[in-house]
Amino acid sequence: MDTELRSLLQDIEALKGSLPDVSYRDSMAKIEERVVKITSITKAATSRRSKVKEMSAEVVDSNPYSRLMALQRMGIVENYERIRDFSVAIVGIGGVGSVSAEMLTRCGIGRLLLYDYDTVELANMNRLFFRPEQVGMTKTDAAVQTLSEINPDVVLESYSLNITTVKGFEVFMESLRRQNPKNSVRDDARSAGVDLVLSCVDNYEARMVVNQACNELNQTWIESGVSEDAVSGHIQLLIPGETACFACAPPLVVASGVDERTLKREGVCAASLPTTMGVVAGLLVQNALKFLLKFGEVSPYLGYNSLKDYFPTMEMRPNPQCSNSACLERQKEYLLEKPVRDALAKAKNEAEASLENESPLHMENEWNISVVDDSEMETLNAPKASDELPEGLTRELPTADKHQEAAALEGTSISSNDVDLEELQRQLDALNAS
């Protein structure tokens, strides 16, 4: 393109010199001017900005980070530049995941790991991020293409694979463990090489796989979801051992035993809106930024009901009977660390208290009013036995889960210790052949 335009200019120049008639000169000059303009436009379109070595707070039009660094000046974030040390894995590059990736890229995140096994389709165009000319590309490659243009400073890793298969899961785990090559020394001895995992998948199976991986790696993650009817969504923070894992609370249809037909409508094609997906991606990345850069309060759960503009929040404790063994291990570790945690909290409280004015706030206290800590109130109101529930509440799930399984064992179930696997394979093959 560039060379073509240059030779076109030379041709015009040669033509101008050889033209006998002066009256054409003006129009020739105009053509020349247009070609010069086109040349500069194409140059601007193809030029990428070079990588930035250090984030600058300088307020100039050419600084991509000036508005982000202003967060420090405004007193919101203490050290914004730390964002370049963080690695975030995004599982599922669909309506929520792709937008989240773009947001983090524009924020100047250090490294992004992208996972998806799908390709871009025209049916995805009602959502944000992907462009029609990317149809047919894998979602991860298309995302890397766009994201690297937006911000070349971000290290992007693309994994086009299905994490629910045994092989895909191995690669998934391996990639999460690998340390960021940019920061070789880490301040903590964690087994994972990423700082946060964002789950943006659209099905239960994949969520359970992310849950499994993060429980095993002791990796904090945030789950996100948009309902099938496209009008509500949620984000949920999962800290292994500390908050409920994704297997701790079974889905409603399983727990309550209600007829699933009343909850799900026929057909597979789910509805989606760019608005709801954009809102959920925004909530997800906002929570991720608060978690990483340590500002504000990180929400343990935040719902979004768009029909009523209702945003419920809640907290979920881990289930001591969780079916996921890695979750139970993390719960045990969390309990063991309780004395250390309490001591730290106490030291922090004391430090804060000593900073405060030591003279009493009110000289007189006629009614003996005193301030009681929230946690003290909780222990006062807590039932004596941990299994006891307040009046009016019942447990939906039977507690004797183990007992039932044992009963089933004695019934029609299988005791096949005596036969070896090859023999069983032969038997099935024989049946298949006949």
Binding site: V254, K264, C269, S323, E405, L421
Partner: protein, 174 residues
């Protein structure tokens, strides 16, 4: 379970239940689970044969028993329609059920996810979750795939989306 037809129900009660809660990453426990899977599949296949209701072939594609392939068929208007059948055992098995695939029907029905994974969300997955770890591959075929074929194949054939293989050959020749 009251919505299931009596044939499916009686077949289901005769498939042996499994006992080991183990997935493909659990080493020796997985081998034990695999044995139970084979037992249940053998019992189900021979029961189908003796009831003249043989409708699938399935066998492990790798020694670890994490990928399974075979075929299944459905008789509609006295003609047999046969499809390739495949699925992977997910890493979170048996907490999550296998996602059964009929790759030849990919894109032909909307009751399917990408890659030809049949939709099991409504009629099967809640049942699977409630009965974990007692249900196995045989139960997934009996309660997941069989009802799907019974519901979808007649519609696919009547709408012309699926042609009988004899018709396809004659239409190519003519």
């Amino acid at each position: 379970m009251e919505e299931w037809d009596p044939n499916t129900k009686s077949a289901l009660t005769k498939i042996p239940l499994l006992a080991t809660r183990a997935g493909p990453r659990d080493g020796a426990a997985w081998t034990q689970r695999l044995k139970e899977e084979y037992r249940a599949l053998i019992a189900y296949t021979s029961m189908n044969k003796s009831n003249d209701n043989d409708w699938f072939r399935i066998s492990a594609d790798n020694p670890e028993g994490t990928r399974w392939t075979g075929s299944c068929w459905y008789v509609h208007n006295l003609r047999r329609y046969e499809f390739r059948l495949q699925f992977d055992i997910p890493v979170t098995y048996p907490t999550t059920a296998p996602e059964i695939e009929l790759p030849e029907l990919d894109g032909k029905t909307h009751k399917m996810y990408r890659g030809g994974k049949i939709c099991l969300t409504v009629h099967f997955k809640p049942l699977w979750a409630k009965n974990c770890p007692r249900f196995g591959i045989a139960h997934a075929l009996c309660l997941g795939l069989a009802p799907w074929l019974a519901a979808e194949v007649p519609i696919l054939v009547d709408s012309g989306m699926v042609k009988h293989k004899d018709d396809e050959v004659s239409s190519v020749e003519s």
